[in-house]
């Protein structure tokens, strides 16, 4: 079984540009969450989607948006990029519905997209 796949793996953008990051969850998983990990820090929650609806949002500006498609894949969009948006963006999938205790394996993360803003 394929794990969580993210694309692209690396990306370099200029300040002010827009970026779209993509995530395909594990087959059968309906919940996708996005996290931002700045170098030297732990991942920070951005969004959670379940059954194509936004279920939670972290403390990020409106420049960040996301959506989930009927096949449960997801996109994270960031507008008007700032230097501080440079980070590893992680996608995590889970099989359980919102609020339910996840299986013992918790959340499965992809390898991430390394975004560099110059």
């Amino acid at each position: 079984d394929a794990g969580v796949t993210q694309s692209p793996t690396h990306l370099i953008k200029t300040r002010g540009q827009h970026v779209t990051l993509r995530c395909s969850p594990i087959s059968g998983h309906k919940s996708v969450s996005w996290y931002q990990q700045v170098l030297g820090q732990g991942p920070q929650f951005i969004f959670q989607y379940y059954e194509k609806e936004e279920r939670g949002r972290g403390n990020f500006p409106d420049r960040f948006s996301a959506r989930q498609f009927p096949n449960y894949s997801s996109e994270l969009n960031v507008n008007a990029l700032l230097l501080g948006d440079s980070a590893l963006y992680l996608c995590a999938s889970s099989s359980t519905r919102q609020g339910a205790t996840p299986p013992d394996y918790g959340y499965t993360f992809g390898s991430g997209t390394r975004l560099t803003v110059v």
Binding site: Y35, G40, G42, P43, Q48, R55, T101, F109, G112
Partner: protein
């Protein structure tokens, strides 16, 4: 607000030298404490989930324990391949959804 503090920030061990990593937390309604391993440039890899004080789980040279305020990841006779950053996270449920709050991690380096 949920908070997770990990210590030490970095730890250097000789191969075979056992030690422990600490994760202290404050959370309103713990719905699980997670340990992940992260290699450079990669996503976190799941290790353990603990749900209640007194619970322990083991996997090879790793053993995780949980109290009401902290968790420990014990590493017995580590090998160089155990070198990685170890992340602790707590899961809580608020405003109708659950999320993970991570600590900054402990960077472990095991020398041969």
């Amino acid at each position: 607000e949920d908070q997770v503090t990990q210590s030490p920030e970095a730890l250097r061990l000789q191969e075979g030298e056992s030690s422990s990593l600490n994760c202290s937390y404050t959370v309103s309604g713990l719905r699980g404490l997670f340990w992940y391993r992260q290699d450079p440039g990669k996503g976190p890899e799941f290790l353990f989930t603990l749900y209640s004080a007194g619970e322990e789980k083991e996997k090879e040279r790793l053993k995780a324990t949980l109290t009401k305020k902290e968790s420990f990841l014990h590493i017995t006779a580590p090998k160089p391949e155990d070198s990685a950053t170890y992340l602790c996270a707590v899961r809580s449920f608020s405003s109708g959804y659950s999320t993970l709050t991570f600590g900054k991690g402990t960077m472990l380096l095991v020398s041969p």
